[in-house]
């Protein structure tokens, strides 16, 4: 029962002209759509569905990630709307989704936002309206809890029992499944994290299992995005994560148009200076995976090299896939932010790992 009241007229007029805040759920081959949305001035890609009015489903979302997609859809605050790029909404299990081709995507989004503000559109939430765990009226105090730490207070248990951390203090450990649609995480990657404070004490990295692609699903007939787009979208996502919104838009705009080696060289000149992107990436996320040791700076420099080579037209070897268990072992002991940045810095390799089996030629 979404609580929506039509927005007062004058506010609606002003709000209508605002850039559409969009949360992008990226599936297989969704990178070109993500670049297109980030490059366009009439759209603002936001970090969490709470800040968004429209959920955009880009690329092919396999069956295994459907429940997570429905949960993400519900967490966009009502009145909400969903736009699926290039495929029927019902294919993704969201009944009221609007299917928009990639060409007129941004105009479709602006139109959807106008409907939302006028009160003509509001997708109902898919998930249950009430907490399946019965907690109201349960237990001595009627909130489902018992004793000091036990029971299901307000429908959810408390983090128990305490576990000994690496510094000998036995405190609570939060077991979190950071889902496939967290902003900046490589597409369709689930990270099972055991957090003590903000240090990762347990971690497992699992890609969402891909199902075989029925027919011409995915990015309306285009094959795997070219190397340049994959590298530049990874760079744009990393820039957005570390707070350089302007540079992220510039890189995304580069990724949507034709790319010349000169452009990439100009980009490197802008980024590769001491007090720029390197403030967040120098010496952070130091991983040595299958012989290639380096921090996040080394990896985004490698992206720029590969993008320059691909722009110059010569053959670029496909990125080797990763041993995810070795990666998980490397992430142990990192701070949560550094771990998420490290995963974002492995986007091309991890995209290859979760790629559609048939297409990963």
């Amino acid at each position: 029962m979404a609580v929506t009241r039509p927005v007062p007229g004058r506010l609606a007029r002003w709000a209508g002209a605002a850039p559409v805040p969009v949360h992008v759920a990226v599936g297989h081959g969704g990178d070109p759509v993500l670049a297109q949305l980030r490059a366009d001035r009439r759209v603002e890609v936001v970090a969490t569905p709470r800040h968004a009015t429209v959920l955009v489903v880009a690329g092919h979302v396999p069956e295994a990630a459907r429940t997570a997609l429905h949960a993400t859809h519900d967490q966009v605050r009502a009145p909400r709307a969903t736009v699926v790029v290039g495929v029927e909404g019902t294919m993704v299990g969201i009944p009221h989704a609007v299917s928009v081709p990639r060409t007129g995507l941004v105009d479709g989004l602006v139109a959807v936002q106008h409907d939302l503000l006028a009160g003509d559109r509001d997708d109902p939430s898919i998930g249950p309206d009430d907490n399946p765990v019965a907690w109201q009226g349960v237990g001595p105090h009627g909130q489902g809890g018992e004793g000091m730490m036990g029971g299901v207070p307000w429908g959810r248990p408390m983090a128990m029992p305490p576990v000994e951390g690496r510094d000998g203090l036995a405190l609570d450990r939060l077991a979190l499944r950071l889902g496939p649609f967290l902003a900046g995480l490589p597409p369709l990657l689930v990270v099972d994290v055991g957090l003590q404070g903000d240090v990762v004490e347990e971690v497992a990295v699992e890609p969402v299992p891909a199902d075989e692609p029925p027919g011409s699903m995915g990015t309306d007939g285009e094959d795997r995005p070219s190397v340049v787009i994959t590298e530049l979208v990874a760079l744009a996502e990393l820039l957005a994560l570390v707070g350089l919104a302007g540079m992220a838009v510039r890189v995304a705009r580069l990724a949507t148009g034709p790319v010349t080696p000169g452009d990439v060289a100009g980009l490197r000149r802008r980024l590769d200076r001491p007090l720029g992107l390197r403030t967040a990436t120098d010496g952070v996320g130091r991983l040595d995976l299958s012989g290639r040791a380096g921090d996040i700076t080394a990896r985004w420099r490698a992206w720029l090299d590969r993008a320059a080579a691909a722009a110059a037209g010569d053959r670029v070897p496909p990125t080797g896939t990763l041993d995810l268990d070795a990666l998980a072992h490397e992430l142990l002991g990192m701070e949560l932010g550094a771990a998420l940045l490290s995963l974002a810095s492995l986007r091309p390799q991890l995209a290859a790992a979760t790629a559609l089996p048939a297409v990963a030629a």
């Binding site: 609580v3 929506t4 927005v7 506010l11 609606a12 002003w14 709000a15 002209a17 605002a18 850039p19 805040p21 001035r41 603002e44 936001v46 970090a47 969490t48 709470r50 800040h51 009015t53 605050r77 009502a78 009145p79 503000l117 907490n131 207070p153 307000w154 429908g155 939060l174 979190l176 967290l182 902003a183 900046g184 957090l195 404070g197 903000d198 820039l239 994560l241 570390v242 707070g243 350089l244 919104a245 302007g246 540079m247 838009v249 510039r250 705009r253 007090l275 720029g276 992107l277 390197r278 403030t279 967040a280 990436t281 010496g283 952070v284 701070e335 949560l336 932010g337 998420l340 940045l341």
Partner: protein
């Protein structure tokens, strides 16, 4: 009866403070939009009106709800954060002789406004009962406790030549002598670090970090999100005015009236801070805590020594 240099009627003072914070927050929002558009290489035309349209849309969106939040603290956080920005602004001289309340212990009031603002940001991270904002709130406390000492040392160094802790006397001490930006060189960079960190802007925005899905604002939407955005920009306004007062002799200057000079200098500081924000990526928290304690703190000791020697010479 302890005499206080400049002081206004409480109601007049409150209206002036709210007006200055509102104007300042709008100026910061427009500067951010224009600088982001410039860095992104897009046309600057629509960048000027983009913040108002964005604010209207955010205001039109529904308010945040989570499963079991601490709603009292969740509402108290933006209110306390703006209250502390206002508290800091009241003790700063806004005109040549005019200030809302130029009390004798001005720099201690600004210091306590900063500390209680840190408490407000921690509450904003704690209240939603959601993992990512909780981690962001704790990260900010680590950074907040580290840059706190820098701001106190810099303000005390500015109080040495003025022989008083009131900001009005600090401006007076700069009028006859040289401006503090010249005779106390290390002060401005250290105070810019504090200004960025306390107002969650640019490279020191550890509380609303993008990598934690928006940090403490991961669960916030609607008018509450507008209130938090306004609070951050109001705090940046207060610290821009404080930087102008402490280092650029605030309202002092030829020809133009006092408040005009203060507006020009504060806007310059805002542009510098926002420009740094769009060119430097976020500093990891562990590194910032280590650098603040092992590099910036000794630098502020040196800064204090220089200020002492210069005052005595």
């Amino acid at each position: 009866m302890i005499e206080v240099a400049g002081a206004a009627h409480p109601v007049v003072g409150a209206l002036v403070v709210v007006a200055v914070l509102a104007l300042g927050a709008m100026a910061v929002a427009v500067t951010e939009s224009v600088v982001t558009a410039h860095v992104a290489g897009s046309p600057l035309g629509s960048a000027w009106s983009r913040p108002w349209r964005r604010a209207a849309l955010v205001l039109a969106r529904p308010q945040p709800v989570t499963e079991r939040p601490d709603t009292l603290l969740w509402v108290l956080a933006p209110a306390a954060y703006v209250g502390m920005a206002a508290l800091g602004l009241t003790v700063l001289p806004l005109g040549t002789v005019w200030a809302v309340a130029d009390v004798r212990t001005g720099i201690v009031v600004l210091g306590s406004a900063e500390v209680l603002a840190m408490v407000a940001v921690f509450l904003h991270g704690w209240a939603p009962n959601s993992p990512l904002p909780l981690v962001a709130g704790y990260r900010f406390v680590a950074a907040g406790l580290s840059f706190l000492l820098l701001s106190i040392f810099v303000l005390i160094a500015a109080a040495l030549p003025a022989e008083s802790m009131s900001f009005g006397r600090i401006v007076a001490s700069q009028e006859d002598g040289a401006w503090n930006v010249l005779r106390q060189p290390l002060g401005l960079p250290l105070f810019l670090v504090v200004a960025l960190a306390v107002s969650l802007h640019g490279p020191l925005d550890v509380a609303d970090a993008g990598e934690l899905a928006g940090g403490t604002t991961a669960e916030v939407s609607g008018p509450a999100r507008l209130a938090w955005g306004f609070a951050r920009r109001a705090m940046l306004t207060t610290y821009a005015v404080a930087t102008a007062v402490v280092f650029l002799a605030g309202p002092a200057g030829p020809l133009l009236p006092g408040w005009a000079w203060l507006a020009v200098k504060s806007l310059a500081v805002v542009v510098v801070l926002v420009w740094i924000g769009q060119r430097t990526a976020r500093v990891p928290v562990e590194r910032f805590v280590r650098v603040a304690w092992t590099v910036l703190l000794p630098l502020s000791f040196l800064h204090l020594a220089i200020a002492g020697v210069v005052t005595l010479a």
